[in-house]
């Protein structure tokens, strides 16, 4: 108790101020500006208190400040519950706690609060820099905690001791991370407050919506293929399928009858891969055409798109298989076909007329109409560009006959419109096309600028066929990438540009590190844990065996660390060990060996105290002195010393 109520020294106060600063600085972007300012004022106040050794503010003032801080948080957020208000409250408490550092227990409480705030950072971001920053803060806080019990050592030494302690804790942390039974869901899976900043495909497609996406180099998802990466031109990542057209935008039709199983048969070779999907706030899961399996907790829509039961708000990983050559929809329902033929009642008269002409010429022959449409698109000499001109009400006509400049959504929409006008069921498929293999870790990275739209045509007897109208005008978009297909001089995102090779190389490395972090640290879920345990030879571990393994390993690490620390003591001279037993015995008689005392000098002193044992004490001391300090001791000297000491009962 005396320790807990010891006053806080100046040095300890500086330590606590440093750790409070380290813990609260990363939270500045999360809390409102007035709170940052107030906290900074409290810190400066604390520094002045320490520097000038002023008296602490009176309690009534602190109580007022607590009330004011709480009121401020409540006014700001209308609540004190939830992630950001909670963290803001903790920052208020930390700042005020610094102003009432009276006793050692206040110091300890401040340090613990700092640990908690470090944890709070992870509620906002979980990136590698956050983790490094948090590690440094934990180091400073640990040093402050050490200083709270003993403030004499200089700062470097406190930090070194703290680092040593954290290093000793590291194996336990790793063991617990890897083996402690995991709960389903991500580590930091608390409901997030907002999702405004997430970019990605939406469920409508209008001229310019994908062109806008092409300016973003954010990662959409990463893919690891089990075998070879399929050729670029086959990498169609199926996203939302849009059948309903209102004259300007294409929309996803809300299909009710979703499939729980794959409704088509596999044909040809399959491709196995694993997708790590970045959160995008929508339900759909991207899969290579055509999906052969369904990720867990998902279903297949009637237009063959896997969708999750819950919106993807956290990074999601799923294994997938694709049948690139599968045939789907040969027996498509009349309703689906009707949906795929519906056009608005008016608009785009020129294209409608051409479509009607094809219809009269080829009748029901879908394949012939398709060939005519492809031929028509090729002859229009359309230009693929990131900066298409604005279009009026008749988007398809204006694009095809007037501006002739468009991005993939223009091509896909116009093509689908043309075929519908000719009576061939068609729909727009949005998604991603291509991707870039990161040479560092072998992952295929698909970014937002890989977003694409293409068409799907239904032909009797052949089912749904993928046609990419963009490829007719700009074949390099599909065979290589966006940069190759865009005319020179158009603004591309940095990463899509071919000439910045060094930047791409750097970005590849960074991306591989980030991906590793996502895969193995943030994405370490029960499945990963089971996989790891399986490779360790525990196929279906229950919590009992997990606990047993965990205890054994932790015990092992503990023993190893203890052995490492005791290394020096384990190498102790056996003669010295025997001598310590001897001196311990004499200590019980009140004759305490001083650590600097030579053996003979001690023996002389001891003999004076207990003259009856003088002779034996002298013998033992001489024997020990010869063993420890003499040249080449006799073989039985040590044994003799041990037996004599064992027999010595003062």
């Amino acid at each position: 108790m005396a320790r807990a109520s010891r006053p806080v020294s100046r040095r300890q106060a500086w330590w606590l101020l440093a750790t409070a600063l380290a813990a609260s600085l990363p939270l500045v972007p999360q809390v409102p500006p007035w709170l940052s300012l107030a906290t900074a004022t409290a810190f400066i106040w604390r520094a002045a208190l320490t520097w000038r050794q002023w008296h602490l503010p009176p309690r009534w003032l602190l109580v007022l400040l607590v009330i004011a801080g709480t009121a401020g948080v409540v006014l700001q957020y209308r609540t004190i519950f939830g992630r950001t208000p909670g963290i803001a409250m903790l920052v208020v408490f930390l700042a005020l706690k610094l102003l009432e550092l009276r006793a050692a227990r206040d110091a300890v409480a401040t340090a613990l609060l700092c640990y908690f705030l470090v944890l709070g950072q992870f509620l906002f971001t979980q990136t590698i820099p956050t983790a490094i920053l948090a590690g440094l803060t934990v180091l400073i806080t640990t040093a402050a905690l050490l200083a709270a019990s003993d403030d004499r050592p200089p700062p470097q030494q406190q930090l070194r001791r703290a680092a040593l302690m954290l290093a000793q804790a590291l194996p336990f942390m790793l063991l617990l991370f890897l083996l402690f039974p995991r709960v389903q869901g991500p580590l930091w899976g608390i409901p997030q407050d907002r999702f405004s900043a997430v970019s990605g495909l939406s469920d409508t497609l209008s001229p310019g919506s994908i062109a806008q996406l092409s300016q973003s180099d954010a990662v959409a998802f990463r893919v690891r293929f089990k075998g070879e990466v399929p050729p670029q031109s086959q990498l169609y990542w199926r996203g939302p399928v849009m059948s309903s057209f209102d004259g300007r935008s294409w929309r996803v039709t809300q299909t009710s009858g979703a499939y729980a199983e794959i409704p088509y048969a596999g044909v040809g070779a399959s491709v196995d891969y694993e997708v790590t999907l970045e959160p995008h706030g929508k339900f759909w899961l991207f899969a290579l055409e055509l999906p052969a399996t369904l990720p867990p907790n998902s279903a297949l829509t009637s237009d063959y798109q896997p969708i999750a039961r819950q919106a993807v708000r956290n990074r999601l990983r799923y294994a997938q298989r694709a049948w690139p050559e599968a045939v789907a929809g040969v027996n498509e329902t009349p309703r689906m076909l009707r949906d795929a033929l519906t056009l608005p009642t008016d608009g785009n008269p020129r294209m409608r007329a051409i479509g009607a002409a094809w219809r009269t010429q080829h009748g029901d022959d879908g394949a012939a109409i398709l060939a005519a449409a492809e031929d028509f698109f090729a002859r229009q000499l359309l230009i693929y560009t990131l900066n298409p001109p604005l279009l009026g009400p008749d988007t398809v006509d204006e694009f095809l006959f007037d501006t002739k400049r468009g991005f993939c959504e223009h091509f896909a929409a116009a093509f689908v419109f043309a075929l519908r006008a000719a009576g061939v069921p068609a729909r727009v498929v949005a998604g991603y096309q291509g991707g870039e293999v990161n040479p560092v870790d072998g992952y295929l990275v698909v970014r937002q600028y890989d977003a694409h739209a293409w068409a799907e045509i239904w032909i009797a007897g052949r089912g749904w066929i993928r046609i990419d109208p963009t490829a007719i005008s700009a074949p390099r978009r599909v065979s290589s990438n966006l940069a190759a297909a865009i005319p020179a001089g158009e603004g591309l995102p940095f990463l899509a540009r071919a000439d910045l090779a060094w930047l791409r190389e750097l970005r590849h490395r960074l991306d591989a590190v980030t991906n590793g972090w996502n895969q193995w640290v943030l994405g370490y879920n029960p499945q990963r844990q089971r996989d790891l345990l399986a490779t360790l030879g525990m196929s279906e571990p229950d919590w009992r065996s997990m606990t047993a393994v965990l205890s054994v390993l932790c015990g092992g690490v503990m023993l190893g660390l203890t052995a490492w620390i005791l290394r020096k003591r384990l190498r102790i001279d056996p003669a010295l060990a025997a001598w310590r037993r001897f001196t311990a015995r004499l200590a019980r008689r009140g004759i305490v060996w001083r650590t600097w005392e030579g053996p003979l000098a001690f023996a002389e002193r001891a003999a004076r105290h207990i003259p009856t044992h003088a002779e034996r004490i002298g013998e033992i001391a001489a024997l020990y002195a010869r063993l420890r300090y003499g040249p080449a001791p006799q073989a039985d000297d040590l044994a003799q010393l041990k037996t004599r000491i064992a027999a010595f009962k003062p």
């Binding site: 600097w596 005392e597 030579g598 003979l600 420890r628 300090y629 003499g630 040249p631």
Partner: protein, 306 residues
């Protein structure tokens, strides 16, 4: 298993220099360790007698050099004089060409004369007029100096002090010893009556034996720990140098031999420690300088045996 010849020798000295067993034993240890001895004390406490007796019982030649402020190096080392008969220069060796030299009141001489002696001590040879002459073997210098606060002294710098293996103080004899001295026979006559106990050859043998005394790793650890402590505590201006550690080990070995052991114990190190550190460690706090015993005790008690 003490060596009887050394015991007899010490008994002889103790019979003449009364009540000074410990300094006498230390000075013999210093001689056995092939070092030189510095005695700092007031005049008239028996420094000269001690040096004289030591030379006598060991059967060594003895010379005394009284240092004065007008002394020149040649007065110590010797001088070449033109011999008219042979028509050549002839070297007349100085008083340093002997086995035991008593350099009395060394801090009265100028640094020039001091350094002539100190260089000879270190190299055990004299270079005069381009010719190098070896000094006899064994060679042992006992220098005395007056306490430095006395008038008309040139204090020896630290680097020169370091050349002395040990520095001891004799101090006033206790009343019993003093009374015996006053009542007893003439010391000068007693010295003259002494017979050598050992030959110079035997002395060299014993010096070689000292070098062979075993110092175990545990003991060397201890010496290092002591030195490390002097280097890290702010109590001293500078810690013990490696040369000082060697000196400590050498004297501790001689001390162990005097005790009849073939290995050094921490007790030996502790016993000789005051003599080794007295002229080597300068306390940062000037007031503490005088009490060497107290300083040594504090040092010993601060360093546990490894």
């Amino acid at each position: 298993m003490r060596l009887p010849e050394l015991e007899a020798l010490l008994a002889d000295i103790n019979r003449i220099v009364l009540g000074k067993q410990r300094p006498i034993r230390l000075s013999l240890a210093c001689l056995l360790a092939r070092g030189h001895l510095l005695i700092e004390d007031l005049p008239g406490v028996g420094k000269t007698t001690l040096a004289h007796v030591l030379a006598r019982v060991l059967g060594l030649d003895f010379q005394r050099i009284q240092f004065t402020s007008d002394m020149l190096p040649a007065d110590v080392l010797g001088v070449s004089i033109f011999d008219r008969d042979s028509g050549t220069f002839h070297f007349h060796p100085g008083p340093i060409f002997t086995q035991v030299v008593l350099a009395d009141e060394i801090n009265r001489a100028t640094p020039k004369a001091q350094s002539a002696l100190l260089e000879a001590m270190e190299e055990r040879q004299v270079t005069a007029e381009g010719k190098t002459r070896a000094l006899p073997e064994p060679f042992f210098v006992i220098a005395t100096q007056n306490p430095t606060h006395q008038i008309g002294t040139f204090p020896l710098p630290e680097s020169q002090l370091d050349r002395f293996l040990l520095k001891i103080e004799l101090g006033y004899p206790d009343p019993v010893a003093e009374r015996e001295l006053l009542a007893g026979a003439d010391r000068r006559q007693m010295v003259a009556d002494l017979t050598p106990r050992i030959t110079p050859q035997r002395l060299i043998e014993l010096q070689d034996r000292v070098r062979a005394i075993h110092a175990s790793t545990a003991l060397i650890d201890y010496v290092q720990a002591l030195a490390a402590h002097t280097r890290t505590t702010p109590r001293w201006q500078a810690g013990l140098s490696p040369r000082a550690c060697l000196a400590l080990l050498a004297v501790a070995r001689a001390w162990a031999l005097l005790d009849g052991r073939d290995h050094v114990l921490p007790e030996d190190v502790q016993a000789v420690l005051p003599g080794v550190i007295a002229h080597r460690l300068r306390p940062t706090d000037d007031t503490a300088r005088t009490d060497v015993e107290a300083i040594t005790a504090a040092l010993i008690e601060a360093v546990p045996l490894p």
